[in-house]
């Protein structure tokens, strides 16, 4: 197990390193880096000043060394707009996104697994129709559009729910609902397919021959086997949750890392962007390890 974690850490570190290098070269080679850090209307003097302070007038290789050194120390500099360490700003925002993502992911997984299993038990039946309908709609819906339509109906039209902020539980309903749709559709489809496979397998036939009840055939015999491919998709979707978060947080004014990134991009606050990239990448790395552990816990044939 330790050996596996070590190997996994190494390979992820390589991924991270490549990401760091890619960001560096994209930021340095595609134009004047002061364009990235400073406002568009910054004076030439300010630019020169900034260059001198941050060593941007030095050879590329020196800049690279300094950049890597800083990043490895999680030192991303200060946010220009907020005058606070970028990392601090990012972690604060990340906590919000994490809450949002965890709640949504929990609800999505629960709903998709139960509905998907029921759908698979009777292909073509009532639950199957519902599941297929939702998964198709869910996978096809553009979340930004759903979000604004929801605002028009529930906030502006009916006045039931607030449009933005995080104050009360009511504030969370719309963001979670919108964030829910796509992963729900996708995971539901995988659960259904995987459970159909598991239910037609030989070991379920054995269970039937043993006289096991249909409920146990589905939720004891098939489910644990059927979960293996689902776990992978849940992992992918959990990482993809950040995609949705960018949209949802922007529209609902939710102070998470997705909104922070878009804001920082519009405000050209490069330190924050860099810090956000690193924090997200590390979070995803940790989540992938959790997924691997879940996999091993579910399937005794996998031993790392």
């Amino acid at each position: 197990m330790k050996k596996f974690l070590f190997k996994r850490a190494i390979s992820s570190a390589i991924s991270l390193l490549l990401l760091i290098v890619a960001v560096f070269f994209l930021s340095r080679l595609t134009g004047d880096p002061t364009d990235l850090y400073l406002p568009v209307d910054a004076s030439q003097e300010a630019r020169d000043n900034f260059r001198a302070i941050n060593g941007l007038d030095q050879p590329l290789i020196v800049q690279f060394g300094r950049y890597v050194w800083d990043v490895l120390h999680l030192d991303f500099g200060d946010s220009i707009r907020r005058a606070r360490p970028a990392l601090e700003v990012v972690i604060e925002a990340f906590a919000w996104t994490l809450q949002l993502a965890l709640i949504t992911m929990f609800l999505v997984s629960l709903a998709a697994i139960i509905l998907g299993s029921l759908a698979a038990f009777k292909v073509g039946g009532f639950f199957d129709r519902i599941a297929t309908f939702f998964s198709l709609i869910g996978a096809a819906a553009p979340d930004f559009w759903v979000a604004i339509v929801a605002i028009v109906i529930f906030s502006l039209g009916l006045g039931w729910l607030p449009t933005s902020g995080t104050g009360t539980p009511l504030h969370w309903i719309l963001p979670i609902a919108v964030l829910f749709i796509r992963p729900f559709g996708l995971i539901l489809q995988v659960v259904r397919g995987s459970m159909i496979n598991a239910l037609s397998s030989a070991y379920v036939k054995t269970a039937r021959a043993k006289g096991v009840t249909p409920k146990k055939q589905v939720f004891v015999h098939a489910l644990r086997n059927g979960m293996l491919p689902v776990i992978t998709v849940i992992g992918d979707q959990a990482a993809g949750m950040l995609n949705g978060a960018v949209i949802v947080e922007t529209i609902f004014g939710f102070p998470g890392v997705g909104k922070l990134m878009i804001d920082s991009i519009l405000q050209r606050d490069f330190s924050v962007i860099l810090a956000a990239i690193m924090v997200t990448a590390i979070a995803i790395f940790l989540m992938n390890i959790l997924i691997d552990l879940a996999y091993a816990a579910l399937d005794p044939r996998i031993r790392y």
Binding site: A202, T206, A209, K210, G211, V212, H221, R224, N225, R301
Partner: protein
């Protein structure tokens, strides 16, 4: 005869498929009494498993539909019971074991848990079930039952897994045990052990045993009575000895006639020069040694059989010889050149001379190519053999030689039966005009009658084309009829080799003797004699 315990009357089952409804069984009736062993014998597609699936309520409707019939168990028609009532009977009164126990055991639960479940499902309290499980494991011969109960199915061998299935099925001492091809995927020695276990348990509990099989040998070994099925219908039934000795229906006669191991032994192996010489060939996968220094020779025009159980290295020998895998060390001299040290160009030319026929013709033919494309591919790769203008004519000729028709050339593999597909695969190998053909279990996946036809074809082609065969098989009777010389392999080593008569009639090594003793004869009388010998040995 005692009162029947389970009786199937006039059962007809239809499956609705893409090509319209298919009647899987028509008007099937059989019965089994307590303490009796009934075998249902049939080839693939005969519908031999369908009635058993109906008994266990394992037929999915749709696409299946039971169109007529009754299944009477202790005076009640199972087909009229509710799903809950049938579940009560399943596992408790009537239990079933299957072919391929690995896929029939749930991979993510411990075997102890799975056996306990059989007990708790029908009301045994948990703690009692646990104790019972351990004693069941002990009874079916699983070593170290306490520890084994905590293991998962993948941690056992094939034979042990079937023992686990048996333990699970017998947990509640059912009246009837249905065994669907219980020993088909197992090595002969393991098969003998499993059949012996089933026999012993049946004697102890007095249950009725229904065994579904394609193998006359299994019938001869274990069955009191036999029901022969063909194309969804029962063609004949009677006591096992009677049906074998005096078959009435032409189908049964053909089936028994095709059983291998009864033909003339090849006594005059060709005394020619060896064309292929393997010297000390080794193959390692990591730490595991699949081949530990094998040396043998193949003479021109000879059929050399390599036999052995799974894991003996017989298939690895073929794969290494054909350079599908690289040997770790050793040499293979062919016409004075080492096959393992060829340049890519030389290897390409050598491919023409040594060809292979694979086990499963369904998988060895590209499903998206027509027969014409499959056979002519040989000349697309080696254009010097035949100019393109003559391809069509030559494909037709080859198809004729393997017993197919020229108009078959434009069909796809899935439109043929298993035996016909293997003929196509043989035609493909012949297209390259090879000197040596390696047949890797080339007839194992085929029904006995088809098997006999393909063997006959191979024999005929050998003389016509002056071929030499390396014939890899686990089925000893087939080897006995077909081979000139036999090599017996065990755990990556050659334990014995010699002319076919010597190996079959005077085996020197214990391993060979055990192998021969375990292989089943289709004649119930022969099996009864062997069983008596075995018992007297055990007593002594």
């Amino acid at each position: 005869m005692a009162e029947p315990l389970l009786e199937v009357r006039n059962l007809s089952v239809t499956f609705h498929t893409a090509r319209g409804p298919v009647e899987a069984v028509r008007n099937v009736s059989w019965q089994v009494a307590p303490g009796e062993v009934l075998a249902i014998l049939g080839e693939s597609g005969s519908g031999k498993s369908v009635s058993a699936s109906a008994v266990m309520d394992l037929i999915d409707c749709p696409p299946g539909e039971i169109t007529s019939g009754e299944i009477i168990y202790r005076g009640r028609d199972l087909l009229k019971l509710s799903a809950d009532e049938r579940r009560e009977i399943n596992g408790k009164r009537i239990a079933m074991i299957f072919q391929d126990p690995l896929s029939h055991l749930n991979p993510v639960y411990t075997v102890g848990w799975q056996i306990e479940e059989a007990l708790t499902t029908h009301g045994t309290p948990k703690d009692k079930a646990r104790v019972e499980t351990i004693s069941l494991l002990d009874k079916v011969g699983i070593p170290n039952p306490e520890a084994s109960a905590r293991k998962y199915p993948h941690q056992f061998s094939g034979g042990q897994r079937q023992r686990l299935m048996i333990a699970m099925a017998l947990a509640l001492r059912p009246d009837v045990l249905i065994a669907d091809e219980p020993t088909t995927a197992l090595d002969v020695t393991v098969q003998a052990q499993i059949l012996a276990l089933l026999e012993q348990l049946q004697h102890e509990t007095g249950m009725a045993l229904l065994i579904i099989t394609h193998d006359l040998g299994v019938v001869a070994e274990i069955a009191d009575r036999v029901v022969v099925m063909n194309a969804g219908e029962i063609v004949e039934q009677g006591t096992a000895a009677e049906v074998y000795a005096n078959p009435q229906h032409p189908y049964t006669k053909r089936l028994i006639g095709a059983a291998p191991g009864k033909g003339a032994i090849h006594d005059d192996p060709p005394t020619t020069e060896p064309i292929l010489l393997l010297q000390n060939v080794c193959k390692k996968y990591g730490e595991f040694e699949a081949l530990k220094g094998c040396s043998f020779e193949l003479c021109e025009g000879e059929t050399l059989a390599i036999v052995g159980e799974s894991g003996s290295g017989k298939s690895t020998t073929a794969r290494v010889l054909l350079r599908l895998e690289e040997p770790t060390s050793g040499r293979a001299m062919y016409h004075g050149r080492d096959l393992f040290a060829l340049t890519p160009r030389e290897l390409f030319e050598m491919r023409r001379d040594i060809q292979m026929v694979f086990q499963d013709p369904t998988q060895s033919l590209n499903p998206r190519m027509t027969v014409y494309q499959i056979i002519s591919e040989a000349w697309a790769i080696h254009p010097e053999i035949l100019p393109k203008a003559r391809w069509r004519e030559r494909v037709a000729e080859l198809l004729g030689q393997v017993g197919l028709k020229p108009e078959h050339a434009h069909r796809y593999p899935h439109q043929f039966s298993g035996g016909q597909r293997q003929r196509i695969a043989i035609a493909r190998a012949l297209a390259l005009e090879p000197r040596v053909i390696v047949c890797d279990e080339a007839v194992s996946a085929l029904d006995v009658q088809v098997q006999a036809q393909v063997i006959e074809l191979l024999d005929k082609l050998k003389d016509e084309f002056g071929l030499s065969y390396i014939f890899i098989a686990h089925d000893l009777p087939v080897v006995r009829d077909f081979a000139d010389r036999v090599i017996v392999m065990q755990k990556g080593q050659i334990v014995e080799q010699g002319p076919v008569r010597d190996i079959f009639e005077n085996p020197r090594e214990t391993y060979t003797r055990n192998l021969l003793a375990a292989s089943l004869d289709p004649d119930p009388e022969v099996q009864a004699r062997r069983r008596a010998e075995r018992l007297s040995k055990e007593v002594a």
